[in-house]
């Protein structure tokens, strides 16, 4: 067990960090880890009170990345979290307005499930790949819609890629 604990700490030394979900405090980060994280594991979850990541070495790596990495993707839950923090990157997705729209009964609201939030974050983190590489996205929208998810509510999207 001691050996495993040691490796659990050491793994942080070799874990590449490209995407960080930043929550305000311990309970928010725990909630994210419990409800959303398993649907997209390609992020590190941190809390501004310093409790998460619980892996000490990983926490230090996160702090370093936030301060120095200009290519880091940061997903912010509760913008109040960064009042005191200087983040090096400009690649920041603030989810608060989207979550507020889901919470309040008003027009144009999103009804997010944990899976959909995870996917939204995944799409944000993949933006650079879409910008730099070929996607064949036009051909996909014009010709390749899988029949299993065909429905009239989403067919309108095709017009954007005509």
């Amino acid at each position: 067990m001691q050996k495993v604990d040691s490796e659990f700490q050491q793994v942080a030394n070799i874990t590449p960090i490209k995407n960080i979900v930043l929550c305000k405090n311990e309970s928010s980060a725990k909630h994210y880890l419990d409800y959303i994280y398993d649907h997209n594991i390609d992020v590190i979850v941190a809390s501004m009170d310093g409790v998460y990541p619980k892996n000490k070495i990983l926490k230090d790596q996160v702090d370093f990345k936030l301060k120095t990495d200009s290519k880091l993707n940061v997903i912010l839950i509760n913008a109040d979290s960064i009042n005191e923090l200087k983040i090096r990157t400009d690649r920041i997705l603030v989810l608060d307005d989207l979550f507020l729209s889901a919470w309040k009964p008003k027009p144009y609201r999103f009804k997010f499930s944990p899976q959909q939030v995870a996917f939204l974050i995944s799409a944000f983190c993949k933006q650079q790949s879409y910008i730099k590489n070929e996607t064949n996205v036009t051909e996909i929208f014009q010709n390749q819609k899988p029949s299993t998810v065909s429905d009239k509510e989403t067919d309108w999207i095709k017009g954007l890629y005509s």
């Binding site: 490796e7 659990f8 070799i14 590449p16 880890l33 892996n55 590489n133 070929e134």
Partner: protein, 433 residues
């Protein structure tokens, strides 16, 4: 490309290289011991008794049914009586699918010998003995010099009079080029690099810098689109369009340049790291959870490739839940078997290596026009990569550090660029332009 040897009335058919002499090979296989090496082999003891043997990545796959076997799927499929006559033989992608034969396929009586296995057929009875030769119960004590020498000897021994190496600007192909140059074999190689004027970005810059550093000539081959680029006959034999664009684009270049008489080297598999960031992050935050890792391994590949989920949410979108669970159970079983290895990080890094690598080299294995070789699948090399302590494999957030460990004099240019994959747009099935 299928070789034959005999000993004492027993015939051994094989692709690749038998790791021992014929007599010892036959004795080992008949005792259930699987010799380690790079080969696919059929040992024919009599009309009623055979052994089919695949290596750790099934580099040379074997298919079989009740009375027949073959190294090439399309050939055994041709000899198979199709029960569902209305299915189009060649053009139904879901039927030809490749790699494995689904239980839903009309060809389901054709079975693929599992990766890293021995199948014993005797008097109509079939016994499958699965091995796990890649992961060891101890962290490897193989010396760096020993592994380096072995790998260099492998390249020197297999180098033909005419060779082709594709340079992608990445770490794997650069390492092979470095070793080729170091061994004084560069004059036997043509170094090719594929690129597309249609791509938003391409690898000309890193490849040019690497070639200049190594002082080797490189030819840039323009490929507008990859995808459906085989000749009509080959397209008809396989699929409407190909799924492994790296392979198909390379193949087109070889055919167009008339280099089919050359041995073609690939950098497939590399040091075995695949999607390592995901599993390392998960382990660092949630610990070692085999059931979750097993689900991730299914979600990240196949139907839901690049879904970085460890849940079974994918099931809501699948009409094959039994197949999904079968795949999850497979990876749980692999992880159970990996328990014997002491380095937990190695377990999580490499538990899907065997399946992913077998998939990667599959397309090459079914090419009967071009002779391909994948030096990183060399058993000694990949076995060491897997079983060496995980702590040496990543340095300063840079992966594939093993190459730097083995050849510290090697150029660092590939580490300066983010991995981009082959920058050639896939051909549309409907509209190539």
């Amino acid at each position: 490309m299928i070789n034959k040897t005999q000993y004492n009335g027993v015939t051994v058919l094989f692709r690749g290289t038998l790791p021992t002499n014929t007599q010892d090979f036959i004795q080992d296989v008949c005792r259930g011991v699987k010799p380690r090496g790079n080969y696919g082999s059929v040992v024919v003891l009599s009309d009623n008794e055979r052994y089919y043997v695949t290596d750790h990545f099934s580099t040379y796959p074997i298919w079989y049914n009740q009375n027949d076997y073959d190294f090439f799927y399309q050939d055994i499929a041709k000899r198979t009586e199709i029960k569902t006559k209305e299915e189009s033989f060649y053009n139904e992608r879901k039927v030809m699918g490749g790699f494995t034969v689904s239980d839903m396929s009309p060809f389901k009586e054709i079975k693929r010998v599992p990766i890293d296995s021995i199948v014993h057929v005797k008097d109509g009875e079939t016994k499958i003995i699965k091995h796990d030769t890649l992961i060891d119960s101890l962290v490897s004590s193989n010396g760096v010099e020993e592994v380096k020498t072995n790998f260099e000897n492998f390249i020197a021994k297999n180098c033909a009079e005419k060779n082709v190496l594709f340079l992608s600007g990445g770490k794997d192909s650069t390492t092979i080029a470095h070793v080729v140059k170091k061994l004084g074999l560069a004059n036997k190689f043509r170094f090719l690099s594929l690129w597309s004027p249609k791509a938003k970005q391409h690898e000309k810059e890193p490849v040019s810098r690497i070639a200049s550093h190594l002082d080797i000539p490189v030819e840039f081959i323009e490929v507008e689109y990859s995808g459906r680029i085989f000749d009509d006959e080959t397209n008809a034999r396989f699929f409407d369009f190909w799924t492994e664009n790296t392979y198909s684009a390379k193949r087109k270049a070889i055919m167009d340049l008339g280099l089919t008489d050359s041995l073609c080297w690939s950098g497939e598999v590399g040091v075995g790291n695949m999607q390592s960031r995901y599993v390392l992050q998960y382990y660092a935050q949630k610990g070692y959870q085999k059931d979750k890792l097993a689900r991730f391994s299914v979600n990240i590949c196949g139907t839901h490739r690049r879904s970085a989920s460890v849940t079974d949410h994918a099931l809501e979108y699948l009409d094959t839940p039994t197949e999904y669970e079968r795949c999850v159970n497979h990876f749980e079983s692999v992880l159970d078997n990996f328990d014997r290895h002491p380095d937990v990080i190695n377990r999580i890094l490499f538990h899907r290596l065997k399946d992913e690598s077998a998939f990667r080299v599959y397309a090459y294995s079914q090419d009967d026009k071009i002779n391909w070789i994948h030096p990183f699948t060399n058993f000694n090399f990949i076995n060491s990569c897997i079983n060496w302590p995980s702590s040496i494999k990543f340095v300063n957030d840079r992966d594939k550090n093993i190459y730097r460990l083995l050849w510290p004099e090697m150029t660092t240019i590939p580490w300066e660029y983010a991995k981009s994959g082959l920058g050639i747009p896939a051909s549309s099935k409907y509209n190539a332009n």
